[in-house]
Every structure is written in structure tokens, then in C-alpha cells.
Symmetry: C2
Subunit: 254 residues, 2 copies
Amino acid sequence: MRQLRLIALPGMPMVQPGDDLARLIREALARAGTRLQPGDVLVVAQKVVSKSEGRHARLAEVTPSGQAREIAASTGKDARLVELILSESREVLRTRPNLVIVVHRLGYVMANAGIDASNVEAQEGDPRVLLLPRDPDASCRRLRDELARTAGVAPTVIINDSVGRAWRQGTVGTALGAAGLPALMDLRGQPDLFERPLQVTQVGLADEIAAAASLLQGQAAEGTPVVLVRGLDLPAAEGGADVLVRPAADDLFR
Amino acid sequence: MRQLRLIALPGMPMVQPGDDLARLIREALARAGTRLQPGDVLVVAQKVVSKSEGRHARLAEVTPSGQAREIAASTGKDARLVELILSESREVLRTRPNLVIVVHRLGYVMANAGIDASNVEAQEGDPRVLLLPRDPDASCRRLRDELARTAGVAPTVIINDSVGRAWRQGTVGTALGAAGLPALMDLRGQPDLFERPLQVTQVGLADEIAAAASLLQGQAAEGTPVVLVRGLDLPAAEGGADVLVRPAADDLFR
């Protein structure tokens, strides 16, 4: 009987720049009464990775460009925030009041380039926001390697974030980075129940895991940014989540 | 410590038209050594719901329209299949070789209107395909009510399918129907960790559950179409999955 367990690791502290996430995760695993086992997957919320990497930006230090001021005027957003969004983006796809949808420099299509102003400490009169990690796949590899070194098991690591979608309402947990799994699982050629080859089917495996973990991470004051997923029988792979980004040339909807 | 368990219910038989899914699920729960508990969620693959509802179509009985023949010529698809796709759709959004993306009559944006030719028995020379359930939300409500009547507990029920996306490669499990949960969970106004109200956040809760279950359902010959999800602390609601469909007028990407 195939089973999956997802465990929200308890007692993770507020993460600060420079914090050793691998150590915090090992301690949280111990609090959960477990340790890493072969095949384990760790899903880490983007915010804590960004915080540990010091990806904060102070709006007071940002000088908006002309383009940023124009978009700010048409959307009602803070021009300094728009400037940060542009600096993190390849291309602006759509703007509407209070909405800027861009292609992030790493290819994700997202509102606000994933920059978040919630759950970030605002110093009095000095608002700070949090950018996405510089290279989420690299962050995952580092965390995987560091846990392999210090815990003796190399887990699959996924960084997830709640991301909006075309066509459907509501955000879903999505894999921004990954290490140690085939993030895009190719089922082409596997036989179906009647032994005929399946038509082309590629499954966004890392995104499905990211969405599953998101069910336990919550959005607001729950404070459980790391979820252990146990029981997935993943094929070995070194790959990252970059393969989940559809190349612009193949995308019919932008 | 918050935990989720997902269990792929073992021994589900090949489903035939007219089969009593509630009974098959009760029997599979018993094989798994459990019974329904308050708060349980059952995720049922679209294919078995469609099969139980007899949503097969024989291509030999389909006469393609002129529009279907045109799209067939430009995509290389069978004109009778295209006719079925059109009959299940409101609007054709994009066509490319071997690809027809439509707005399904219930609002889902999908390739082929969700019509599937894999895992459907082909009689010799008489190929059959499988359409989506007529009304997945209604199918979920019926299953929920029937299980409440016969098992004494009304589970949340979700019908999921693997669906492609804009911007990202790979399909992800997606909720076509639901009963008994807030499929779109509104987090607007909940405080964040610093007691400031969150900005607008609506989570596609039923889609995240659908994606999680998809990890255990597989795509090919695994034969585990029903997944029990235990440990979600869902607020009570009667709602269906229709709220996840973004109205065309609000959609910036079609």
C-alpha cells in the first residue's frame, strides 16, 4: 500500500540573514522525533531561504526609473517597489491596477517578480521587502549537499512559493528551485493498463510536491516553513526546477 | 505537530459503467484497514468517475463538422476526436500540430477538452475515448452524500485530473470537481506573523490537494485512482470546485 507522510517540522525559529538553514532543519527534524532517511524530500518555503540569504531590500534605498514611475502611476503601486520588480525581471507581461505580472529573470511568470512585503519586518518608516533567492536551484543544491555532509543523507530539496496562475483562481504551491529529483517526470512511452504506450505525458513532479507541502505551510501566522515528505519513491536524479519553466518560444499564452 | 497522510487505496478494480463508486471506495478503505473518519478527504481520478458514469464515446459514431475537419487538417488529429472536443467546449483558444487547447464547457482551459484515449479499452477497430464527467461538482456531491449515507461520515470529495498549464512544463493534478470544502480559500485579512493584515491571498486549496494526491495516483499502469488524505484541518463548507475557474473577463492570458 503506497503511502505518503507530510510533516510540518515544528519550532522553526524566525530566520535571519546568514542563518544556517541546514542546522535549523536538523534541529527541527530532531524536535519532530526523526532524522533524515534515504528518499526523504524537504520542501522549504521561499521566504525562509530568501531571509537566510539576506535578500531584503530597503525601499528607501531605491531610486525609481522613468519606466518604474510610469508603471507605478498606472497600477497605484509604490514606484520604488516597481523599480525592484523591474530589476528582478526580464519582461513586463501585463499591468492592471495593483497588479504587475512579469517574467522573472529566471523565467517564472509571476505577479511582482515574487517580491513579498508580508511577513517581512518593517522598521519604523523604513519598509523592507524580500526578493526571491538569487538562484533557487543553487540554494537547493547547497542545502542538499550540506545536509548530506552533516546528516549523512542527501535529501531531495525543493524551494516552493505560492504562485498565481492563468485561467484559475487562487495561488498554488510551486517549485522555484529543486535538487535531487527529476522535477519534470517524463512518462512518455510507459505502457498504460492495456499495454499500449501512453501518449506524451510529462508530469510537473516538483510542482506537485510543492503544492502538497503548501497545504501544511499555510500562508499567514502558522510559522511552519519546512515540510518533510516521506514515502515518495523518486528516481535518482540531480536535476533542478529550471526544467519546469516553459521556454517563451514554446509558450502559447503570454 | 501537523501531519498529513496520503494513502493510495489498494485493490480498486477496473471501473465499469454503472459501478457504485461509493461501494468500491468503502471496500478499498476496508482493504487498507481503515474506515472514513471526520475530516477525511477522498481524491478520485477523473477517469474512474467518467467510466462509472459511462462517459465513453465511440469514434465510429461521430460525424465531424466542417470546423472539426478543418482543425483536424491543421493539427493532424482525428476529425471525429476533434468533433467530440468541440462538442465538449465553449471556445477554441489555440491549435498547433497535435494540440487543441479549448475552454471546456465548464470553463476549464485544457488540451483536448480533457478527452482521453489512454487507459480506455479499444475494441478491435472501434476506438473509444472517455469524456470528462458531465458535472464533476455534482458527481462529488453525490459521492459525498452516498458515503455519508452508507459509511456514516461525509468526506470531502475531489475529482482530479492531470492538466497542462501556461508558462510551465508538465501536467499537475488539478481539481475538476469538489464537494465539502472551500476549494478557494480566502486568506484576505488574516494577520501575518507581525500582526499586519496580509494582502489579498486566495489559495487554490482544492487544486493543492488534487496535486498532492496525484503523486500517488501515477499516470500509467499503477491503478490507484483513489487517494485518502487524512490530517487536513479544513473549515466546513459545501462548496464545489467551480469557484476555481477564473471568469474569462478577469483572465489576462487567453
